[in-house]
């Protein structure tokens, strides 16, 4: 056992960091919406799914075989294009989702239960819409089977670390995720929009009195959260190379776990939570086998909520200093 641990530890850690960055990006959407509206955006996982489909569509339309050969510059450019396109479509879908599924309820002051049911309904609707209508029409395949994406980043060793190796694709995922997260963090901390978001999270009524348009802030929050899921989806598709109509379900729950783990409503907490979850999951797979990874994630969720429901960092979006 100890020997396996020694052999696999570094490799698992690198894999965990990669997975964790993707969880962290998706977790940002949950954490922002929760911070502002006190609502778990249950359909956020489908926003992620829409992003993977966007990336897949672009890749599939330029690929002639299962492998796109590119130089390093063109490769990064393509990745940027995928991230941008997915972010736009995911962000847009998130705004539409808010408009259709949440705004009417918010205007009526309905209970949280109603909002949750509405979110579950929207989630089911989007999954089935893709499985039955969009995937068959766009990709010409059955929507219920996983769709493979062409490879455009080589799985070559960039540099060795101990007995493990770091690959180009892994570095790209981590760098991409970190840059986007830093940009978002600065946006929320330094800009006017960010101040509006923080004010709304802190006290919606006082924010209205101070001239903040809640509807606009909520829309921007959904847009930003959706865009983060879009970026995550492009990186996910590059790294794991397949998607399907249900890709978001388990990933969404794990990202939410990451958000809770770091302290929901806290952007930096989401980053930390994502990385921690990715690492714990991969390390547990060494001992238990990878089929138990999902169970580990849920057990971590239960334990965190039991002992520290405010998460590791605890500080929330409401209290983030200017």
């Amino acid at each position: 056992m100890l020997q396996t641990l020694q052999d696999q530890f570094l490799g698992s850690t690198i894999g965990g960091l990669v997975l964790g960055s993707i969880y962290a990006l998706v977790a940002l959407g949950y954490t922002m919406v929760y911070g502002v509206l006190r609502l778990i955006n249950f359909a956020h996982s489908e926003i992620f799914m829409i992003g993977t489909m966007t990336s897949l569509f672009i890749l599939a339309s330029i690929a002639t075989s299962g492998h796109i050969v590119l130089g390093l510059g063109a490769m990064i450019l393509l990745l940027l294009a995928l991230m941008l396109a997915s972010a736009l479509l995911s962000g847009g879908s998130a705004v539409v989702l808010e408009q259709v599924a949440y705004r009417p309820l918010r205007k009526r002051g309905s209970s949280k239960l109603a909002a949750l049911i509405s979110a579950i309904g929207a989630s089911i609707f989007l999954q089935e819409l893709f499985a039955l209508v969009i995937i068959p029409n766009v990709f010409g395949k059955s929507g219920r089977v996983p769709q493979n994406a062409p490879r455009f980043v080589d799985r070559d060793t960039l540099f060795p670390v101990g007995n493990a190796v770091v690959r180009t694709d892994q570095v790209l995922v981590i760098i991409g995720a970190v840059i986007v997260m830093v940009v978002l963090d600065q946006l929320v901390r330094r800009t006017r929009i960010g101040r509006g978001i923080r004010a709304t999270a802190q006290d919606p009524e006082a924010a209205v009195l101070m001239g903040v348009s809640i509807d606009r802030i909520v829309r921007i929050t959904f847009l930003l959260g959706g865009a983060m899921a879009g970026v995550a989806s492009a990186l996910y598709l590059m790294e794991l190379e397949n998607t399907g109509y249900r890709v978001g379900f388990v990933l969404g729950i794990k990202a939410f776990t990451a958000a809770v783990l770091g302290g929901i409503g806290n952007l930096r907490g989401a980053l930390l939570g994502g990385i921690v979850l990715g690492l714990v999951e991969n390390w547990s797979a060494i001992f238990l086998g990878s089929e138990w990874k999902d169970v580990t994630a849920f057990v971590v969720l239960v334990l965190v909520l039991m002992f520290r429901p405010t998460g590791i960092l605890g500080e929330s979006l409401q209290r983030a200093r200017a």
Binding site: I117, I120, I124, V295
Partner: protein, 385 residues
């Protein structure tokens, strides 16, 4: 509460005048009238599998089978979940776990040890209750959304564990689950009719049980917890104990439904217990009107029946270009949920108490609508102790 007449709410009230009238009548009806109605309902339930009803209700598939699953099973599950969500006000997204535990108990004891189905159903109920306590004891201090996510996680843990454990069939599931042995001269084999009567008896038992509970001291404690947990605690209600009780009783009913389901289905696999089933049952409860038993039963019936009925709607088939409308039923279900919550979030037949709360603007679900413990609330300090 008078004179707060916001027009939309006035309209809702007026449009449901017949329902209110019926309720007023029911409250003042003498005993013999009530029993007459009970008898009429039971007679109606007994003749329900008749082919002439089935030919309208379910032209595409066998009506009696549809009455057992999904309709009967969903109603049973919804009554169980209503105790947790509607009466005690806890949000449970992993209810399917208890259904699975009941079903797996019957399957394992029946196939591995050759037990008779009847005692295994009882064992399933007990095991479901025990797992309800095991899950509830550490997590029920959480509220609202957090509780929902933890229970969702529990449901997934149960499903994935069943999927990965080869000694209970793994992903292939368990086959050849024995049918129940004959009871009162009824043979349980391929004919669905005896199972229908079995599930009918189960529903009636669970309804009686649920109503008695709701009217007892326990039910009042649940109502107090649902409306304001902190206030209830301060008034001397041992909230944790009662929440755990509600969770365990809900789990028992879920396990009961699972046991009946497994003995009818003969074959079960982890795929029979997906998250979507939890969501569907929760939707049935909310759609019908959480906390109001007739509403919950109506909700479960509609959620189970409408997709079955859509299988055989000819114009829908033409509209979809000869694709099977059954494929689109989940899509429609999702859309209906969103629409329903936007138009009538309190459900089709809301309980009067909840409707009054909604009118007061408190969100109407007590602790479900309340704030989740944030970093700067006293609740957080309590939890941290």
């Amino acid at each position: 509460m008078k004179g707060d007449g916001v027009t939309t709410q006035e309209n809702t009230r007026r449009s449901f005048q017949p329902v209110n009238g019926a309720r007023d009548w029911w409250q003042h009806a003498p005993m013999w009238q009530r029993y007459l109605l009970y008898i009429a309902l039971i007679v109606f339930a007994l003749i329900l599998p008749a082919p002439w009803i089935g030919s309208f209700m379910s032209p595409a598939s066998d009506w009696t089978s549809v009455l057992i699953f999904p309709i009967g099973t969903y109603i049973l599950l919804a009554i169980g979940l209503n105790i947790v969500v509607g009466l005690a006000g806890m949000l449970d997204l992993g209810f399917v776990a208890f259904f699975a535990i009941g079903a797996y108990t019957v399957a394992i004891f029946g196939t591995k040890f050759g037990w008779n189905v009847w005692p295994t159903i009882l064992v399933g109920i007990v095991l479901a209750a025990v797992s309800g306590v095991i899950l509830g004891a550490p997590t029920l201090r959480l509220r609202g959304d957090y509780l929902a996510i933890v229970t969702l996680g529990f449901g997934e843990i149960v499903r994935i564990t069943a999927n990965n454990t080869n000694s209970i069939g793994g992903a292939r599931g368990i086959t050849n689950i024995p049918h129940p042995s004959p009871i009162f001269g009824m043979e349980f084999l391929l004919d669905p009719a005896p199972y229908y009567y079995l599930i009918l008896v189960a529903i009636v038992l669970v309804i009686v049980f649920s109503v008695r509970l709701q009217k007892s001291r326990v039910g009042r404690a649940w109502a107090a917890i649902r409306e304001d947990e902190d206030a209830a605690e301060l008034m001397g209600v041992p909230t944790f104990k009662f929440k755990l009780l509600a969770f365990a009783i809900g789990a028992m009913i879920g396990g009961f439904a699972g046991g009946i389901y497994a003995s009818k289905a003969v074959f079960i696999a982890p795929d029979n217990f997906p998250f979507i089933l939890s969501a569907t049952i929760l939707a049935a409860v909310v759609l019908g009107g959480a906390g109001n038993l007739p509403g919950v039963i109506l909700g479960a019936f509609l959620v189970a029946w409408i997709p079955e009925r859509l299988r055989s709607v000819e114009w829908l088939r033409h509209l979809l270009g000869d694709k099977d409308p059954a494929e689109y039923r989940i899509l429609l279900f999702g859309a209906v949920l969103v629409l329903m919550m936007a138009l009538r979030p309190e459900g089709i037949l809301p309980s009067r108490q909840r409707k009054a709360e909604l009118r007061e603007g408190t969100g109407g679900m007590g602790s479900l609508g309340g704030e989740v413990a944030g970093p700067d609330t006293e609740v957080a300090a309590e939890v941290a102790k």
